[in-house]
């Protein structure tokens, strides 16, 4: 295959995986819609076991559609998960062919479009790998719709044709630095989702405690608050050392070789440092001051906001001022033809 054929393949694979993600979103929405009609198991800790464990074991026989619904829920859940696996595979093809499309062949991490393509894939892979361990069926609709929307924005706003890597990017540190940064970003994103769900559920629970009603539907089926809190903590604790490595070890070493200084307070560096400090505060608060639940979740979301701002914002708002501005449209085609 030629390079331009690979580029075409990559574009088509992105479109195809977006379609499959969309179907997965539909399946998961159907799953939780079916779940609304089923009474949630009381005191049944959600999430002990394999796929579709959100299914209640004891459905009330008085409801109108009680027999079919749990099965339907499980079926839709399985369909959604299988579609996500297929989509992740196609997503991987899109990334790989993007690298093969360049002449010379390179890693697909040259610009924002490619970073986002890889970042979303890491989020999906993280979700799939942890699916069994933490029984993440409740996270499916959030992850799939997040990835779908992000991919759409990526294609609509950030798309850049394949070009070779710039000289500054031609370094083994590109692989080390970017892989670590994207992995940490994926972990923080997953953790942030759990923290956001924590806040939503906590609010919902307070409301229901106040009026004495019991809720149904998606929120009722989320894991108990301490479980959400613990999963969020573990994901962040996994991401933080990787972020430390990416931003404070691999980054500075590469910056030394490429730009002649290991730390120069470039806007991207400043914000990576801010993100690091906020997540350090999150872990510190949990470890020593016993901040759990609400306040910890808020800090985690602040950290996620600084992370995403650094990823997107710096390149757009500080484009010319940052040495990291790989998104700023590099005026590559400078050959003008005269009339």
């Amino acid at each position: 295959m030629t390079h331009s054929q690979f580029e075409l393949l990559s574009n088509q694979a992105v479109a195809a995986c977006a379609v499959v993600y969309f179907l997965a979103v539909l399946a998961h929405f159907a799953q939780w819609a079916a779940g609304r009609k089923v009474e949630e198991p009381v005191e049944q800790p959600v999430g002990v076991g394999a796929a579709g464990s959100g299914t209640p074991l004891a459905a009330t026989p008085t409801g109108p559609t009680t027999i079919d619904e749990p099965e339907r829920m499980e079926l839709f859940g399985r369909v959604g998960l299988s579609l996500t696996v297929v989509a992740a595979f196609v997503h991987f093809i899109a990334m790989a062919s993007r690298g093969l499309a360049s002449d010379p062949v390179r890693v697909p991490w040259g610009n924002m479009y490619e970073f986002t393509l890889t970042g979303t894939w890491v989020v999906v892979m993280g979700y799939l790998l942890l699916y069994r361990r933490y029984s993440l069926s409740w996270l499916s609709p959030v992850v799939t719709s997040f990835v779908l929307v992000t991919l759409m924005i990526d294609v609509l706003v950030l798309y850049t044709p394949v070009v070779p890597l710039r000289d500054a990017l031609q370094s083994p540190w590109l692989i080390i630095h970017v892989v670590a940064a994207i992995t940490a970003t994926g972990a923080f994103t997953l953790g942030g989702m759990c923290s956001a769900l924590y806040l939503v559920k906590e609010r919902w629970q307070r409301k229901h405690e106040a009026d004495g009603s019991t809720g149904r539907g998606y929120l009722a089926r989320l894991p108990e608050l301490p479980v959400l809190d613990r999963i969020a903590y573990r994901t962040h604790a996994f991401g933080f050392p990787i972020w430390t490595f990416a931003a404070l070890i691999a980054g500075p070493i590469w910056a030394h070789y490429a730009w002649g200084r290991y730390w120069g307070w470039d806007p991207k560096e400043v914000w990576a440092f801010i993100t690091w400090v906020v997540y350090a505060a999150y872990l510190h608060a949990r470890a020593t001051s016993g901040w759990k639940g609400r306040s910890a979740a808020v800090v985690a979301l602040v950290g996620l906001a600084t992370l995403w701002f650094n990823f997107v914002g710096i390149n757009f708002f500080f484009g010319s001022g940052s040495q990291h501005s790989y998104a700023a449209p590099e005026p590559v085609a400078v050959v003008r033809t005269l009339e």
Partner: protein
């Protein structure tokens, strides 16, 4: 702060704090966890302005442009130190307080840890049912046999074990706190490394036209920044010549015009007495000469121009670097001729304008000269000329890339329009009023090099690596205690296994299950799993 606390219930007024007490109180406040957290958030907030306002130390050109555009805000910003946030008093205050708080926090913890790390595992609580994880089974074995086996099993699992009375106490995961302390200490190491570079290091930029040489002395630099304790005598005495510069511009396709694989060939000597060596430097591949690094940052064009007086004598000749303005390498530059002559005596000539590596011209209202390609395929310059006083004699340093137009008048054509010198390669233009001629002789490339010496780099790197190791320990080592108690109870032995996970959110049930399973001989009564929440 020494204001007495009011206690309305008793009407008793506490005496003002004595200086010693005040100091103790302040120290306690400073080293509390809450203060540390607040300082961390403040550090994050305080770092933000430095990413919004152009920083003097990062990009002085942009900082001065910003100053020109905002004449009203500039004095305020200057007072607040917003052009050098990371050296400002308030930013330093935050991190110094944070470091103090850190020291105040880790010293007591080091002492506690030092005592704790040698301590034996604590005695089994009287009532093991209170613990989060507990298993019970009955057996016919003698309690001592069970306890001995438990001791061996736990030892094999690398627990620290102690047998007291009827129970085995065990503990492991002491390294979590060690990791934690290592992390905090390493932050200090990083800061020391960073400060070393800031105080004793230097960073300078220089533009060297190919075939020219550079010797590492202060006067040769175009811009130079050094730390407060830097001593210019310590500049390492190397010198080099830029032999050539290679660049490939992609000529076809979507990325046409993109420069890639640029590199410069250098001949260098580490000191005047040492041997000459040759090397090539490129982006990501600097030259390292005993502690000093030479980096290739960017490149550009230096047109060769010659200004001759009316009598044919040379008033000025040389290669003047022009600064690229966009990716087509349309470049801006200035030529200053301090010793020109005219009929009435001597004068000074200044020229400013643009260089186009591949000249093109668009006719029409919005047209004008442009560069069609970044490679020097059809080089041309287009400059305006001035005469008068260049302002070089007032003692103030002047940029070589800007013309001070206060004492200058533009040269005009016969029709009164400003004179524009448009010169192709090898062309000569005549200046009016018998000022002589200007010739565009040729083009050289130049390289922009950054030369920096940053001591303490290895210390900082070592510090971060240690911090990461400590961090991993403090996050993933789980300190936990397990107790096994065996009691003779009516002819049979009741064995209790219980555990406590001392890390946040840990789960011991699997470990306790595994231990119970290997502790229990094959034929005993079934266990009663007991989990109290």
């Amino acid at each position: 702060m020494s204001e007495p606390t009011r206690r309305p219930a008793t009407g008793y007024e506490a005496p003002p704090l004595r200086p010693g007490e005040l100091a103790r109180w302040s120290w306690r406040q400073l080293t509390s966890m809450r203060t540390a957290l607040i300082l961390l958030f403040m550090l994050a907030l305080a770092a933000i302005p430095g990413s919004v306002v152009p920083q003097e130390a990062v990009d002085s050109l942009r900082a001065s442009q910003w100053r020109d555009q905002h004449p009203q805000l500039t004095p305020v910003y200057e007072k607040l130190g917003l052009f050098s946030v990371y050296d400002s008093v308030w930013f330093s205050a935050i991190y110094i307080l944070l470091m103090l708080s850190l020291v105040g926090c880790i010293i007591p913890r080091l002492l506690v840890y030092w005592r704790g790390v040698r301590r034996r595992p604590p005695k089994a609580p009287r009532n093991l049912t209170r613990l989060p994880q507990r298993r019970v089974y009955e057996t016919d074995e003698d309690p001592d046999v069970v306890l001995e086996r438990a001791r061996a099993l736990l030892r094999r699992r690398r627990f620290r074990v102690e047998v007291v009375d009827d129970a085995v106490s065990s503990e492991r995961g002491y390294l979590r706190e060690a990791g934690n302390l290592l992390f905090h200490l390493s932050v200090l190491i990083v800061l020391v490394g960073f400060a070393t570079g800031g105080l004793w290091g230097y960073k300078g930029g220089v533009i060297v036209v190919t075939k020219d040489s550079f010797a590492n002395t202060l006067s040769q630099y175009d811009d130079f920044r050094a730390g407060a304790l830097f001593d210019p005598v310590k500049l390492s005495p190397f010198a080099f010549t830029v032999d050539d510069f290679d660049v490939t511009f992609i000529r076809q396709g979507r990325e046409a015009g993109m420069a890639h694989k640029f590199s410069a060939g250098l001949t260098y000597q580490a000191s005047p007495s040492s041997q000459q060596r040759e090397t090539r430097i490129s982006v990501n591949h600097p030259l390292h000469i005993d502690g000093t690094d030479v980096f290739l940052i960017s490149h550009g064009y230096a047109p060769h121009l010659t200004v001759r007086n009316a009598d044919g004598s040379i008033a000025w000749s040389g290669a003047q670097p022009f600064l690229p303005e966009d990716s087509t390498f349309r470049s801006f530059g200035v030529v200053k001729v301090p010793d020109a002559s005219q009929k009435s005596g001597s004068t000074q000539i200044g020229m400013e304008g643009e260089f186009y590596p591949t000249y093109g011209f668009i006719k029409g209202k919005n047209g004008g000269p442009f560069s069609a390609f970044p490679d020097a395929k059809n080089p041309a310059i287009s400059m305006l000329a001035y005469r008068g006083d260049l302002g070089l004699d007032d003692g103030k340093p002047q940029s070589v890339y800007a013309l001070q137009k206060k004492g200058l008048t533009p040269l005009k054509k016969a029709d009164g329009k400003p004179l524009r010198l448009d010169l192709g390669l090898g062309a000569t233009a005549t200046l009016p009023d018998g000022l002589g001629t200007v010739t565009f002789d040729g083009v050289s490339r130049y390289v922009k090099l950054q030369i920096s010496h940053t001591p303490g780099q290895k210390i900082a790197l070592g510090g971060v690596v240690l911090a990461l190791i400590g961090l991993l320990g403090s996050l993933f080592i789980r300190p936990r205690r397990i107790w096994v108690r065996a009691r003779r109870d009516g002819g049979r032995t009741t064995v209790e296994v219980a555990g406590l996970d001392r890390s946040a959110g840990g789960d011991l049930s699997n470990e306790i299950d595994a231990l119970t399973a290997s502790l229990r001989p094959a034929s005993t009564t079934p266990e009663f799993p007991e989990e109290s929440s």
